[in-house]
Amino acid sequence: MGTLIDIKGLSKVYERGKQKVEVLHHIDLEIAEGDFLALMGPSGSGKTTLLNLIGGLDSPSGGSISVGGQQIGRLGGSALAKWRAANVGFIFQFYNLMPMLSAQKNVELPLLLTKLSAAQRKRNAAIALKLVGLEERASHRPAELSGGQQQRVAIARAIVSDPTLLVCDEPTGDLDRQSAEDVLLLLQRLNREHGKTIVMVTHDPKAAEYASHTLHLDKGSLVEQVTA
């Protein structure tokens, strides 16, 4: 497997008023295509910042990030949005579904940015919902679903446009043990059977066990690498 994500000398500095806070210090990291990487570390260690940079939600203060050969740190806002739409699926701790839309319509959201017809969008969303085991709940709104089900809808939304990379920020942080396990098994299946490269931030060592690699961050630096 080749390298999908190539990070060199990456640093990130936030300015809070007059104060400058360096959150990441010269990170060097390679993530292979098809990898399932867990990022762990204490609060404030820079896990989410690194994840945001990998997902193209934020731009680096120094160094470079290449994803699939594309230097995403150099892309402008509009180009970066297009790149995210085509290449990355996002899964958040609190699901971030649109409360007024049904599960089906939530999953269709990324497809609105494509040239697919309404019928094709509906069909693809149905396939994604079937993959996460929620085809029966397509017409339900988020408020009518359990936390675990909402997170599976969010996963369906993340994979519906068939991105190479899935970026997950504490995907099980708001779930009970059983739901968390279901979600992690689903992610594992997406990684193993569908070849998705997954980068997952988690506080939970049990969640990290589902990944093939675990990286620890502390005070903005990589401290240790564990291979499953």
Binding site: N52, A86, F90, M98, A118
Partner: protein, 387 residues
């Protein structure tokens, strides 16, 4: 169009708040529709027949009298085919609230208004009765008057020699109708003989308030008007001759500047609407910060997010405004009928629709712009982390 369901969902995320805002918009546009319709009605021309009529008044003011003898000289002006005169009477029937639009007119006055029909036998009876009066059908219906009734009117201006007070007595000799609904307002009038008025009026005699002049060719109305005004140039009774439409407009302006009143009220209403709707949109965007951040995360461009918020605001205004103007369109015929022709409105004018739609779009963009810019500039990382 493929984003419409997202815009609609965003709009009705807080149903109660959106519905309350919608009610405010509907109310504002109902008010706008009604006031603009009244304004248009008062500033509009009268009828096709009116195009060939000129009104001659004193240059000083409408209340300033002109000599009755001027009528014969006006009739001799080339291009004039007929002349009639009238005096404002200002009658009240039984109660001060029952104002009657009443004129003392020369015998041929009604002939200059072919849009009004009076049966020949009633006309003959009117001509033969010194105290005879003819009344519009709407007015007769309002007070239950019939041909043959004797009615007293209190003049607000002219004392009667016969009664020694303000009371004038008339015999209803005929009831006239308007052929065209556009002339229905004239059915609120009462006309009686100028000769009776002149003889019985304790305030002097031999004067009229205005002349109505029929011209042979409306295309030459300006030249005829100039010729009429030349007749009394440099005299103590200089005249001002204008088309009937211009006369009506200036007459209404003497009572009130309807356009200014409408503009002032609507200015206040729409300013309040701007603040109210603007506040609703700001709140709506503020509480959806994380949802908008998710749109951007998924790959919606900042510009798409801006357009979606703007479209939401415009949709809210268009929805409320259209309902408001729709209500006015339904209500206006009933109002016009209830006014007995006093309100010459015949449905919602296309100009009101046009101006209304323009206002909906402008207000929609104005109130949506600030929250839309805020949404466009949203930093994804900050918004997702709740900062």
């Amino acid at each position: 169009m493929k984003y419409l369901h997202l815009i609609w969902a965003g709009l009705f995320r807080r149903k109660s708040r959106t519905l309350l805002t919608l009610v405010s918009i509907v109310a504002a546009f109902v008010l706008f529709g009604l006031l603009d319709s009244v304004s248009i009605a008062f500033s509009a021309g009268n009828s096709v027949e009116g195009a060939g009529r000129l009104i001659v008044t004193s240059r000083m003011s409408m209340q300033q009298a002109l000599p009755e003898s001027l009528g014969a000289r006006i009739k001799a002006v080339p291009g004039v085919t007929d002349v009639a005169s009238a005096n404002w009477f200002g009658g009240v029937y039984q109660d001060a609230r029952n104002q009657v639009i009443s004129f003392a007119v020369s015998p041929s006055y009604i002939d200059l208004y072919p849009e009004l029909t009076l049966p020949a036998d009633q006309r003959k009876a009117w001509m033969a009765t010194r105290t005879g009066a003819i009344v519009g059908a709407a007015l007769a219906k309002k007070f239950g008057w019939k041909v043959g009734d004797k009615i007293p009117l209190q003049s607000t201006i002219f004392p009667s020699k016969a009664s020694g007070g303000q009371t004038w007595t008339f015999d209803i000799a005929g009831i006239f109708h308007a052929k065209d609904p556009k002339a229905a307002g004239r059915e609120q009038m009462l006309m009686f003989h100028w000769k009776y008025f002149d003889e019985n009026n304790a305030f002097g005699s031999g004067t009229v308030h205005w002349y109505v002049v029929k011209v042979a060719d409306p295309a030459h109305a300006d030249a005829v008007a100039n010729a009429i005004d030349t007749l009394s140039a440099n005299s103590d009774h200089e005249t001002k001759t204008q088309t009937e439409q211009a006369f009506q407009a200036s007459f209404i302006k003497q009572m009130a500047n309807v356009g200014l009143i409408v503009a002032s009220i609507m200015g206040a209403v729409f300013f309040t609407l701007l603040l109210l709707t603007g506040n609703t949109m700001m709140q709506a965007v503020r509480e959806r910060t994380s949802e908008l951040a998710v749109f951007k995360t998924i790959g919606f461009s900042s510009r798409s997010v801006l357009w979606m918020v703007l479209a939401e605001s415009v949709l809210l205004l268009v929805l409320g405004g259209s309902i408001g103007l729709g209500v006015v369109a339904l209500v206006i015929p009933g109002m016009a009928a209830a006014s007995g022709g006093m309100l010459p409105i015949h449905g919602l004018d296309p100009r009101t629709w046009g101006l209304g739609v323009a206002l909906m779009l402008i207000i929609g963009v104005v109130v949506g712009l600030l929250p839309a810019l805020r949404a466009m500039r949203l930093n994804i990382v900050d918004a997702l982390s709740g900062r």
